[in-house]
Symmetry: C2
DNA sequence: CCCTTTTATATGAAATTTCATGTTAAATCC
DNA sequence: GGATTTAACATGAAATTTCATATAAAAGGG
């Protein structure tokens, strides 16, 4: 057991700070799955994009960046790489030629399909370990929090 | 409202995937505070390190990296920068001369103290907006999840 | 004790990410 | 409908991050 509070001030802050707990849980829980994604040949950001595209195939770049929780220029370069690898393809939107829509390729979709199944199994295990009450509540609470934080109407 | 499920498969995955919800909530909620930290002259990783040091001043580099949720070599360089800015100081541990312990300076502690107060106010507001039931439960649930995920005895 | 292994931190070099901005297209305003 | 503003995406250059590994010190064997 590491000494909580070596310093002079009051009680510990960070270990019970909501934003820290969120970051820490996200970080640790995701690390488990990220190892799996990498073993499947994907970088972490690529897995994220692939998963988002399974929800919204053909999303425009800006939207996909928002959904993937990353900055637009970063997403652009990740999509570059994924397109080179044949996981996605780009098509400019005929309705608005500024827009670029990103689509899964067959390969991309197949890869995503398998990983999503694994992700769901992993989630099931986490929730099972967490146990009854808490396991039932966590997702609804997070969804409520996200809705509250999100200025937009959607995720 | 963006169209959920433009693609062919079943129902949406990512928007209700536990690890995505955690990442998204963490990302969005933290963004609000990060703007504040930056306005106070700190980069985001520096704020994280400062906050962790308020809990465990004098932590060794490896421990601080783990607590700050970042890779060791990254932390080393962030600490470099913070030391140059006079926020922290390094002292090698006489008990084990491989170890380097990181301490807050007076400046660092003062800066952290103010930001932590702001962070707590921010958290209070988030929980208030979230409302009763959920607000009471979220931190205990996250703590339970973290304990379960964490191989180590501590955070 | 000496030798081998492990642990703690730092660092070079490559890769990725960020920030600001360029380019092109659509929308808005007179 | 031409001029101006706004939106979408891409990209150069700087900054940061990662990965592998070097260095140094402690621990373990025999």
């Amino acid at each position: 057991m590491t000494d909580q509070k070596t310093d002079s001030s009051g009680r510990p802050f960070v270990v019970s700070y909501l934003l820290y707990l969120l970051a820490a849980v996200s970080h640790r829980a995701s690390a488990e799955f990220h190892a799996h994604a990498r073993a499947a040949g994907l970088r972490v950001p690529e897995w994220r994009v692939l998963a988002c595209l399974m929800d919204e195939d053909g999303a425009m770049v800006t939207r996909l960046a928002r959904l993937s929780l990353m900055e637009q220029s970063r997403l652009t370069r990740i999509v570059d790489h994924m397109a080179e690898r044949g996981l996605v393809s780009r098509r400019s939107d005929p309705e608005d030629r500024r827009r670029v829509r990103v689509f899964l390729t067959e390969t991309g979709r197949d890869l995503a399909t398998g990983l999503i199944a694994d992700a769901q199994a992993h989630e099931t295990q986490i929730l099972k370990d967490l146990g009854g009450e808490d396991a039932e509540r966590i997702k609804p609470i997070l969804e409520a929090l996200l809705a509250q934080l999100d200025p937009q109407d959607d995720v």
